[in-house]
């Protein structure tokens, strides 16, 4: 719906143009420039050479890091979705058993507001070998589980899971907070009516809480998926994509190709793919939600 105020074109220009131009110049134009660079071979210095779609052909057919990094990006999204059921359970338990939940909710939430640099460096120290004071390995040794100790971030099979756990640790509090707000917004009258009909406890949760929380759950899903694309900073701080490229995701691959290997053209091709990937994920998610909503109603 549009507004009703009748104003002159000049006024509209004054209100809209500065912001719109600024936004187009620094968000949209760079993307177009990046598409243009992706058709070039260019190392930053000297002349760029037009090579058509060669960068894309190399990316899709020859680059050994590319497809694993796409898959890993999807894994991280899926893994991030795992925190939502946990958050829902926590939210329900909080609202049912805890009279003053604020302290617990704020302590779950605390890691959310910290910088990835603090989080990343802290967890690097936690994952260190025991000889360097790593807490996790010391904890395992103290519990008599010596055989479980690992060099968590140096092991190509495990590093990615170690990273996923940090993402979970940082953001679970956000999801708990969102789900908890959702639970609290459900009117207690509904539960009273349900208990007269004999639905209490987990049965009431399944038939009342969950359906009523569908919109809040949707928010968590979107945040988890978008957030997992942001795992980029954390990976740069903690592993830099290593060891042996085992923690590369699309965005780290793009960043390292561009700023470490100075393949500006090729980096731009990956970056163009990343933008398309994000937009496609958004459209797919929206479709999925529409279908889920139709299924419920």
């Amino acid at each position: 719906m549009n507004g009703v105020l009748r104003v002159s074109k000049g006024t509209i220009t004054v209100f809209v143009l500065p912001c719109l131009l600024f936004y187009l110049a620094f968000v949209f134009a760079p993307i177009l420039v990046s598409v243009y660079y992706s058709l070039m071979e260019w190392a930053g210095m000297g002349d760029a050479v037009f090579i058509g779609l060669d960068n894309y052909i190399f990316m899709f057919t020859q680059d050994p890091i590319f497809w694993p990094s796409v898959l890993r990006t999807l894994y991280i999204s899926l893994f991030s979705l795992a925190q939502i059921p946990i958050a829902i359970v926590v939210a329900i338990l909080l609202s049912r058993y805890v009279r003053r939940p604020n302290f617990l909710v704020s302590s779950y939430f605390l890691p959310v507001i910290l910088s990835v640099v603090v989080i990343g460096q802290l967890w690097k120290a936690i994952y260190n070998p025991a000889s360097l004071g790593g807490m996790l390995n010391k904890l395992l040794t103290a519990a008599g589980l010596d055989s479980w100790t690992r060099t968590w971030l140096a092991d190509t099979d495990i590093a990615i899971f170690a990273l996923c756990f940090v993402i979970l640790w940082q953001y679970i509090g956000y999801h708990v907070l969102i789900q908890f707000t959702g639970v609290q917004n459900i009117s207690s009258d509904i539960y009273e009516a349900a208990s007269i009909d004999g639905a209490e406890g987990w049965r009431a949760d399944r038939h009342i809480t969950l359906p009523l929380m569908a919109p809040v759950i949707k928010i968590s899903v979107v945040l988890a998926v978008i957030g997992s694309l942001k795992a980029f900073d954390l990976i740069v701080v903690m592993t830099g994509g290593g060891p042996a490229d085992s923690t590369q995701v699309i965005s780290t691959h793009m960043y390292l190709a561009t700023f470490n290997s100075f393949k500006y053209g090729y980096g731009s091709a990956i970056s163009t793919f990343l933008v398309v990937f994000c937009l496609v994920m958004t459209v797919l998610l929206n479709r999925l939600f529409k279908r889920a909503e139709e299924a419920i109603s």
């Binding site: 507004g3 500065p18 936004y23 704020s106 603090v118 793009m254």
Partner: protein
């Protein structure tokens, strides 16, 4: 006989009741244990960091996973404080975050007002353009922006990070503000216009004041993401004197690889400002983050 049967059934009922009561208690205990374990998992790493920051290297390497420092090494903090430019990083972060907030709010409030209240053809199209921005990952603009800024001769200045910060904070701000502005009744402006106030005056002295609650939400969301931003700062800045807190923190740690205690101390110092803000405004922050998430 009748009374005896009644007595038995009462006793049975009492037994059943006490069983459900104890079952309920067990469930409550279980729930509390689960919630407490989660709280410890969330908080213990931070407590561990605090203890770590007061230890000597040998204590850190040889100690147990839980151990208090034998003597509290305040030197770690003086080391971190004197060899890193902590106060300068903080100053830079305040300048950059402050300017980003001002520009973001100013720009997005004006555009949101125009989108929701003016009668014009392209309002929805403009809104859609801004909404697409929410989905665009900021990393994908790094190289083009670097080239653009190099040509503008502003690479390695605060401007080169404030510009992308503002540009990428605008979409979510426009979304939140236009959602709010759409809901206020039109009589508000009509009465002001009848009194002869211009549209600019109406915007500044009537609309902006009532928009304070959603502006708070925008402020909180933008503050958390910009204060903590690392990768853009690390890509566009190189001068030591310009570094923001997260970037300065990371490069300090890169240089001080052997002094664990000082690294810990610097991490604590790095986390401190936002934790202090959180203690003071925790309710506002959690509410703002939920409101932002719900609307985003």
């Amino acid at each position: 006989m009748i009374t005896e049967a009644a007595g038995a059934s009462v006793a049975k009922q009492a037994a059943a009741e006490s069983r459900t009561v104890s079952w309920r208690k067990a469930k409550k205990l279980g729930a509390w244990c689960f919630l407490a374990v989660l709280a410890v998992t969330q908080l213990y790493p931070l407590v561990w960091l605090l203890l770590y920051s007061f230890k000597t290297n040998s204590e850190i390497m040889s100690g147990q996973f839980f151990a208090l420092p034998k003597t509290w090494q305040w030197e770690n903090y003086t080391d971190a404080f004197t060899s890193g430019n902590y106060l300068n990083y903080i100053k830079n972060s305040i300048v950059v975050t402050g300017l980003t907030l001002l520009l973001t709010i100013f720009f997005s409030a004006m555009v949101s007002y125009a989108i929701t209240r003016f009668r014009w053809r392209y309002g929805n199209a403009v809104l859609l353009l801004f909404m697409i921005g929410i989905m665009i990952p900021i990393q994908s603009t790094l190289l083009p922006l670097m080239v653009i800024f190099k040509n503008m001769n502003i690479l390695n200045t605060h401007l080169s990070i404030i510009i992308p910060y503002v540009a990428f904070s605008i979409p979510i701000a426009v979304f939140i503000l236009s959602g709010f502005l759409r809901s206020i009744p039109h009589e508000i402006e009509e009465s002001a216009m009848i009194d002869g106030a211009s549209i600019y005056r109406t915007f500044l002295s009537i609309i902006l004041p009532i928009t304070v609650p959603p502006i708070m939400t925008v402020t909180i969301l933008t503050f958390i993401s910009i204060w903590n931003e690392f990768i853009i700062a690390a890509t566009f800045l190189s001068a030591e004197g310009l570094k923001t807190l997260p970037f300065g923190l990371n490069s300090f740690i890169g240089q001080y690889t052997a002094n664990y205690g000082a690294i810990g101390a610097f991490l604590v110092l790095g986390a401190l400002p936002v934790i202090i803000v959180y203690f003071i405004l925790s309710e506002k922050i959690t509410k703002g983050m939920v409101a932002g998430a719900v609307k985003g």
